[in-house]
């Protein structure tokens, strides 16, 4: 039993990461449903709890964001899937540093437990959002939950930084040194390219977040003044003793926070490329360009953080520069999308469940991505920044795109985990309900945001009558969110029942070419590109990477 838990086998660790994410996403979804219910029926007491106070709503916002960003969108696509298939995809028997990898996983579990424990300390969870802007987050007296709860948040994220740091060191060393003979850079599956870029980003930006957390912790407990401005008053007491700069935190945090978005979504882009190639049976057009664009998105992603700070009092000239870099990032993203659309335009799509979810990913990536250049304009952002328009934008382009790519990965790699296929019918029903409900939840937020609905407000009713017009839309969003959550029960049922008595999968159920589907005990020497579909010669019309070169002639 202990051996099974404290294993260094990357596949088991990958499965454990996915379980951790599943737990986190379950809690995070529950919190978001409580938020939605509270926005529509603010005076209805909740069972076992009573009336939700305004600070409770903010605690829900904080914990929902933290759980989803760190423990779902970072953990599942990056650590979960990479552990599951990355070594196999590059023809390695194991990770470069298996014990380091296991240590990273247990640090992530520790971070999760510490974060959840913030709910159970006096005054409860922190309320300053997943971004924890000071001075709100720097002073324990600033609000309920900003004492012990905030400390736990900081410790948890600090531990998570260490975990990601170790994990990315292991990934990078694995990709660079453990590739099998013949696995050149241009024969890597696109997922490996994506994991390479996200690992570099993780290494560079989580260290900066850790430094910021150390500074904030020092402000809270050791009497320093890095982030608290002079003369800051909380509850009638002056707490700001030096010329601290809240903007400094914003810079450090968003230097981490923006690449974090790409850490969440790049693995999905890599996976979508693989799935589109597989389910259209076509080679990826412009493989080198597609890979280069993934790298370029990662590099540019390090230089756009200021677009989160247009309304924070940052120098407007800096805002212009960040607007330019932000619009520049639309270029490689568009190249990626056009590459996928080219692939899809050939037709002959096999609409299996993983493919449907990959198409869903593409749909959300485009729908959410189109509002990106709008929000990149400082002038437009100054109106939209604190409205639900931004909520709609990032929930589509990061959250839904990320989650749909996770689903695509689970449906696609499920046979590797269990040797069985997931039920197609249930999977398709799950997809369509999720797609419609996800748009139903997040699309109207664009409109309510344009109408001026502010973020982080506990309720819209009350003395301000101007929001009464959007209350019906609010109700619709809540019903849709409930439907979206309910559809996930279908997924859970499908997952459990298919794992037990699903249809047995053949050794290569999707007729894929990448090495994770190679038969057991194959002496691997790669001679082919990762996406050799539609090859004119041969009966199968595709050449797996594990096939010897002689058969090509």
């Amino acid at each position: 039993m202990m051996k099974r838990i404290f294993t260094t086998s990357h596949r088991v660790i990958g499965a454990h990461y996915l379980q951790l994410s599943l737990t986190a996403v379950a809690v995070g979804t529950l919190l978001s449903l409580l938020m939605r219910i509270h926005r529509v029926w603010p005076d209805t007491p909740l069972p076992f709890y009573g009336i939700l106070k305004p600070e409770d709503y903010l605690a829900l916002v904080t914990m929902h964001g933290t759980l989803m960003i760190f423990f779902v969108l970072t953990t599942a696509p990056q650590s979960g899937f990479a552990n599951l298939v990355l070594p196999a995809q590059i023809g390695a028997r194991q990770m470069a540093f298996p014990r380091l990898n296991a240590a990273a996983f247990w640090l992530a579990v520790a971070a999760f437990v510490i974060l959840i424990s913030a709910f159970f300390v006096p005054q409860g969870a922190p309320i300053s959002g997943w971004t924890s802007y000071p001075p709100f987050s720097a002073i324990a007296a600033a609000g309920p939950g900003q004492g012990a709860g905030m400390d736990l948040w900081l410790v948890s994220i600090g531990v998570f930084c260490l975990s990601s740091w170790l994990s990315s060191v292991n990934m990078l060393a694995t990709i660079l040194t453990e590739r099998c003979p013949g696995m050149t850079w241009t024969r890597l599956p696109m997922t490996v390219w994506a994991w390479l870029v996200t690992s570099i980003l993780t290494l560079l930006v989580f260290s900066v977040l850790l430094a910021a957390i150390v500074l904030l912790y020092s402000d809270r407990h050791f009497g320093s003044s890095f982030f608290v401005p002079l003369g800051d008053i909380v509850n009638g007491h002056i707490v700001g003793r030096g010329d601290g700069s809240p903007l400094l935190w914003l810079h450090l945090f968003w230097f981490f926070g923006h690449p974090e978005v790409y850490i969440a979504v790049l693995p999905g882009m890599g996976l979508a490329t693989s799935l589109f190639a597989n389910f259209t049976r076509r080679n990826v057009p412009g493989y080198r360009t597609m890979a280069a664009m993934l790298v370029l998105i990662g590099l540019l992603g390090l230089a756009v953080w200021g677009h989160h700070m247009f309304v924070s009092g940052m120098n407007p000239y800096a805002g212009t520069a960040f607007a330019l870099t932000t619009m520049a990032i639309a270029v490689p993203s568009t190249v990626e999308v056009l590459g996928w659309l080219t692939l899809l335009s050939y037709g002959g799509l096999r609409l299996k469940t993983p493919m449907l979810f990959a198409l869903g990913f593409l749909s959300f990536f485009i729908a959410g991505g189109l509002t990106g250049p709008i929000l990149a304009q400082p002038a437009l952002d100054s109106y939209l920044h604190n409205t639900f328009f931004v909520v709609a934008h990032f929930h589509l382009v990061m959250a839904m795109a990320g989650v749909f790519s996770i689903f695509a990965g689970v449906y696609y790699w499920f046979p590797l985990l269990t040797g069985r296929l997931m039920n197609e019918t249930l999977g398709k029903v799950h997809f369509w309900i999720s797609l419609i409900a996800a748009y139903g939840t997040f699309f109207p937020m664009h409109l309510t945001g344009l109408a001026g609905e502010p973020r982080h407000y506990e309720r819209l009713s009350g003395p301000i009558a101007s929001f009464s017009a959007i209350l019906p839309a609010e109700r619709g969003i809540t019903y849709s969110a409930l439907l979206l959550a309910a559809a996930q029960l279908l997924f859970l049922w499908n997952f459990i029942s298919s794992a037990r008595r699903g249809q047995r999968a053949e050794s290569n159920p999707w007729q894929a070419t990448t090495l994770e589907w190679a038969p057991e005990g194959f002496a691997v020497r790669v001679e082919h590109g990762p996406y050799d579909y539609s090859v004119p010669s041969g009966e199968a019309k595709f050449i797996p990477q594990w096939e010897a070169a002689s058969k090509q002639e």
């Binding site: 990315s168 290494l203 020092s218 050791f222 010329d243 450090l252």
Partner: protein, 253 residues
């Protein structure tokens, strides 16, 4: 082209190099044992006798790249905080930053740390002397271990001396009235930078002690090389970090 003129790919491979004689060894289609194990066509990864060593080195380099970003973040915070200020009642822009004169003992500490980097390098090089390594391979004693151990011990001693020196510097600052929680941001940064760097050195000393233990307990010479080599690179990097941080604290107050 008629079929009789079609040349088999192997024939093309074999074509004359133009200087007469056999083609180069790696171009011979039948050479190299025929099992594809002749070191050609291997751009992927690194293979060979030093594969394990280069893998661990790479891991240390990546880890230190992340660590570098940690210190870069601290240093950029240093500059931002230094330029922060406010307008007083007479509309003068004033800053609460007061330059801190670093305790002179830091110069001695820096010299000690540089010296320790030299001893660490001496220890590292002992493990790669070809004759000694060959003797250890053959099981004719452990000359490399015997040579490296004193240098490692010297590094541990010098590293500990550096940390003691830093502690004395903190003591002197406290006596001079600069505590961590005094309202002066330059003293916050001094304690924070020396503190986090010192923490890294504590880890480094633990690593050195671990390497010393590994030197005597590890059976394979490759593993002995790895523990000393990686610790030494870590130690050098911390020395380089310190030079930059020290220059920051001295010159950019």
């Amino acid at each position: 082209m008629p079929a009789t003129f079609t040349r088999h790919p192997v024939e093309i491979e074999r074509k004359d190099t133009g200087i007469g004689g056999k083609p180069p060894l790696d171009r011979r289609p039948t050479g190299g044992g025929g099992d594809g194990d002749n070191w050609d066509n291997r751009p992927s990864g690194r293979r060979g006798p030093r594969e394990l060593l280069s893998r661990y080195r790479l891991g240390v380099i990546f880890a230190l790249a992340g660590d570098l970003m940690f210190f870069v973040a601290l240093v950029s915070a240093f500059f931002v905080r230094q330029s922060a200020g406010h307008f007083d009642a007479r509309e003068n822009y004033v800053s609460d930053w007061h330059p801190l004169a670093v305790p002179p003992i830091l110069w001695i500490n820096t010299a000690i740390l540089l010296l320790s980097s030299i001893t660490a390098e001496m220890a590292r090089r002992q493990l790669f002397r070809e004759i000694d390594v060959m003797e250890e391979w053959l099981g004719l004693g452990r000359p490399a271990v015997k040579r490296a151990a004193p240098w490692l011990i010297a590094t541990v001693v010098l590293g500990s001396l550096f940390l003691v020196g830093q502690w004395i510097a903190w003591d002197q600052l406290v006596v001079a009235g600069f505590r961590f929680d005094s309202p002066d941001p330059s003293s916050h940064f001094f304690y924070l930078i020396t503190g986090t760097h010192g923490l890294h050195l504590v880890l480094g000393i633990l690593g050195l002690v671990g390497a010393l233990i590994g030197l005597f307990t590890l059976r394979r010479i490759e593993l002995r090389q790895i523990v000393v080599d990686c610790t030494a690179w870590y130690w050098h990097t911390m020395g380089v970090f310190w030079i930059f941080l020290f220059a920051l604290l001295v010159l950019f107050q």
